[in-house]
Amino acid sequence: MAFWIASSPHNHNQTQTPNLMRLVILATLPGVLAQWYFFGWGNLIHIALAVTTALVCEFTVLSLRKKPIAHELFDGSGILTALLLGICLPALAPWWISVIGTIFAIVIVKQLYGGLGHNPFNPAMAGYVMLLVSFPLQMTLWQPPLDLVAIDLNFANTVMTIFTGFTAEGYSVEQIRTTVDGVTMATPLDTVKTNLTLGLTIEESMQSAIFGENFAFGWEWVNGAFLLGGIFLIFKKAIAWQSPVSFLISLFICSFIGYSISPDSSASTMFHWFSGATMLGAFFILTDPVSGATSTKGRIIFGLLAGLLVYLIRTSGGYPDGIAFAVLLCNMAAPLIDQYTRPRTYGHLKGDK
């Protein structure tokens, strides 16, 4: 009998891609549930559409590329991409929005670059940006929280609206978005942006029903739920804490500076944290292990840069929210960040190759 001698490492990490992806999908559940509670069935339908499209696309491309289909189709990365895209879409967007977005994300952004692990950009965000640039009208059809909608948006009505553009009673999307007062609702971020150009102060625009009692009615709870899921992921060591934390700190500092200088024309720090896609972006998008920075220091810089960009796009860009654009820009910067934050190899001096 001989001893079986193996070289280090002796302590193996058993985490595999499917397990990791399953954990992340699980962690989005609180956020998705909050979205369902406040905004109705729209996003769930879009998630279902996107996941179906993603599986079909992955199957087609994998068989064209002669890859092991069963292994790569169910590793969960495609499903996660579709899930994130479905969460981001406006709830009442037409069905082809999620289909086209997913096809672009899976086929062009992910598979054409070589599949999982080779894509330079986050597929979900690239798909979202493509949709936002291509279909500006449909991608801004944000639905106000259910409590503010005069029309009963049950499951059947939402399905009808997504597929035909009208509810069973014949209300159009535009009518759904109009409140009892006859004012079209937008997202809190959108409202702030529009009101600022109209010359209103933040204090005045905060009177709108869309902001609720705190920062952003409905949105704050969705963001809170995603924060919860994110903390669960960090606790499970599925994602690194550096990029979300540095991102949130960066956004906090930027908005704090803005708020201190002119409180009338800049939204509060907590408004920036709990509206739009901040928490989703921080914990589920920026932490993408493929397209993000990889070293510890690199992740911190990556997060800081993303926070700065989100703040700049939100305050002085053309779009109300800038998570997707900021993430894509940071993805572009990630290889450079990694290049300059390469950790010192043990036993080598700093700067020694």
Partner: protein
């Protein structure tokens, strides 16, 4: 009658002349065959193997900028084709008198002159297209495909071949332009030949085909990023076809080798 008689009473000098004539005929036939082969090679190079759009990747700026509709693509394709042929002919015609040191400025001047002609013509006869092509019409001067052909081929070859080369390169470029235009117009607006009357006259407005009814324009296909993506896909398809052909040829060659071995073995 007399011709039939001559072979019998042929003198040695006549035989020599005959042989010479035969040699001459052979030589001309050979030259003709060579010329034919060269034309064929030029056509293959321009249209496929060395396509300015897909392989040389020259003139990408107008290629990507104006192919949002087939009509625009066609307009630019015709303008480029015309300039390419004329500049090739001129450069080839004056190739013996152009000093090597200053050939590039001279080529640019020639090209610029033809571009100005084309621009003025389009301004006069197809004003709508002239307006929608905008800056990209005068920018044909800087299209590397044209100066590339002038430098690489026309300045070293006779006029006829140079003209043919210009025609083939221009057609290859035009094919890519029109293909991109078709893809982007169908995806972007769901139509084909929209606004063809601007280029071809009033009768062409009936050419407009509604391929599919779109609720809204697919802006990505109309904007330049869509052109980049479509272009990338076209290049990928071309490379895939080339690889396929190469694989088939290799298969064919290996089969032949096996046959020969068998024949040797049997004998």
């Amino acid at each position: 009658m007399s011709k039939e008689l001559t072979p019998e009473s042929a003198t040695s000098s006549d035989v020599a002349q005959d042989i010479e004539a035969q040699e001459q005929a052979q030589l001309t036939a050979k030259l003709k065959a060579e010329l034919k082969a060269e034309y064929k090679e030029l056509a293959i190079q321009g249209l496929w193997k060395n396509n300015p759009g897909l392989v040389q990747l020259l003139g990408l700026c107008p290629l990507l900028a104006v192919t949002a509709t087939v009509t625009n693509a066609l307009g630019l394709a015709l303008a480029t084709l015309l300039v390419l042929i004329c500049s090739n002919v001129t450069v080839s015609a004056i190739r013996h008198w152009v000093p090597k040191e200053i050939r590039i400025p001279i080529f640019v001047l020639i090209i610029a002159a033809f571009v100005t002609c084309v621009q003025l013509l389009m301004n006069a006869y197809t004003y709508g297209i002239y307006q929608s092509l905008g800056i990209f019409l005068p920018l044909i001067v800087t299209n590397c495909a044209i100066i590339g052909r002038a430098e690489a081929y026309a300045s070293k070859n006779p006029v006829k071949q140079a003209a043919f080369d210009g025609l083939m390169m221009g057609l290859g470029f035009a094919a890519v332009l029109i293909l991109l235009g078709i893809i982007r117009e169908i995806l972007g607006q769901g139509t084909l030949f929209d606004g063809a009357n601007l280029l071809l006259g009033e009768w062409a407005s009936s050419l407009r085909i509604e391929v599919m009814q779109l609720d809204s324009q697919f802006l990505l296909a109309i904007l330049p990023p869509g052109a980049f993506i479509a272009m990338g896909l076209l290049i990928a398809i071309k490379n895939a076809i080339d690889n396929h052909i190469k694989a088939k040829q290799a298969e064919h060659a290996s089969e032949q080798v096996i046959e020969r071995v068998r024949v040797n073995f049997d004998s």
